[in-house]
């Protein structure tokens, strides 16, 4: 999906839990997520802290989209 969207000329930030898979598949901007069963949150955290985790992931992804890159890059 990431590759097809980029083929159409739109940059993609791939948020994923297991970045080695994302690297193998060929995503260019990779943002590490939390865990496979809950990539975008952490149910063990209190709601306020979890919200912060989610906000940070989104900020990181938006920053990745605005960063020029020459090769596959992990934004951790």
């Amino acid at each position: 999906m990431a590759k097809e969207i980029e083929r159409a000329g739109i940059p993609v930030a791939h948020i994923c839990s297991i970045i080695t898979i994302s690297q193998t598949v060929g995503a260019n901007r990779i943002v590490p997520a939390v865990a496979i069963p809950h990539p975008l949150g952490n149910p063990r955290l209190p709601p306020e802290e979890e919200k912060e985790v989610r906000r940070n992931l989104l900020r990181k992804a938006l920053a990745a989209l605005q960063t020029p890159i020459e090769e596959q890059t992990v934004f951790s």
């Binding site: 839990s17 297991i18 080695t20 898979i21 193998t24 590490p32 865990a35 069963p37």
Partner: protein
Amino acid sequence: MSYARPHAGVHPVTHLWRKITVTDLGFSSATRVENGKLLIDKGELTALLRSDPNIKDVQLTIARPGDPVRIIPVKDVIEPRLSRIPGYPVFPGVLSAWDPDSDGIPSGEIVSLCGMVVTTVGSIVGFQEGIIDMSGPGARYSLFSGMHHLVLDISVKEGTERHEHEKSVRLAGFKASDYIARSSLDGPLSSGTLETLYNPADPGFHGSGQSGGRKRVPGIAYLYMLQSQGLLHDTYYCGVDVKKMPPRRIVPTEVLFGAIVSGNCVSACDKNTTYHHQNNPIILDLLRGHGVDWDFVGCVITNENVTLGDKQRSSTQAAELIASLDPDGVIVSKEGFGNPDADLMMNCSKIEAHGIKTVLLTDEFAGQDGASQSLVDSHPNADAIVSTGNANEVIVLPPMERVIGDDRVITELAGGSNKCRLPDGSVAIELQALIGSTNQLGFERISSRFK
């Protein structure tokens, strides 16, 4: 790092495996084996299983090879066994307390009932349980189709939480298996075949190795990956949830005693049922050729977890443990598919970084036409792979005269879909839905070749 140690006195740990073949099943007033037929006291077994407060009802049914029967949805398959070693139980740590590190693994005899299994079914918990067909085209893909089944169809009380539901069904299978073995095998046994299995010597042990004085044969280790992702995808070693346990060495024949059991409600084709663990063909073949064709230097079990950090930590520890055995080569088997492919590749690359060759056993999810990428992850050093088949391949299963369980769930199984029912009552379903069809321990017959 903890090691399962041999019990003091005997080295290496040696197990005598007696197999009693069962040729038929029936119900009777006392559980026993008579002229090769296993007779089961239905009332006594039902009462035992219903002592679990979560269990509302248990239906006991017999299925035989060749019967026009479909068993669905299957949760686990178990071979009844009895340990004849005083104080060392089957399913150690599961049905009774057992710590392999403080108690050690004693040598002695284990007896199994061959040709029959206890099979648990019940209302669907995880959407990914599977099918066993006792005849027809589906039977070609499972060794379980050639066995006699005592099927436990278990329903739990309303409101039972899903993990509690899974646990009750899982334990019911072990209790039934243990009950049958204790009732039918606990006495003088004259019949059956006998096999002696010698485990690898402990690292650092300088006793009489079996290969002493012979020409050097390659040292082979085995890395045994166990599904442990939570969400009803779990495996237990001596009762411990393996996702909460670091990788460790085991005494290979511990598996004969049910030290590793399944708690998996995942895709049927490549989950290891408890039967697969009890009869792990990689362990058995490595033991049978040990000291002659190769030196089996040891077995390490490891987990498949859900965060990148856990995967990295476990693969590093597993590779270090394997390297400490100083093997020339390592066989790595995987359980499940998808993100476990990442664990497989991390294990492979980190072992190869120690200068040790690896061979990987995996199935493939290459699409129904076999043309898609078959694993989600790869590595340049993963250059020796044995495929156990493409789980996306579609097979048409005709309707069966009799269903044990509930075949309405067939469209919900992984490998099924809401379009899989054909007008004549057949189902067109991926191999994925058949229990054990692409088993990654190499139990079945299908494979694939690189073109």
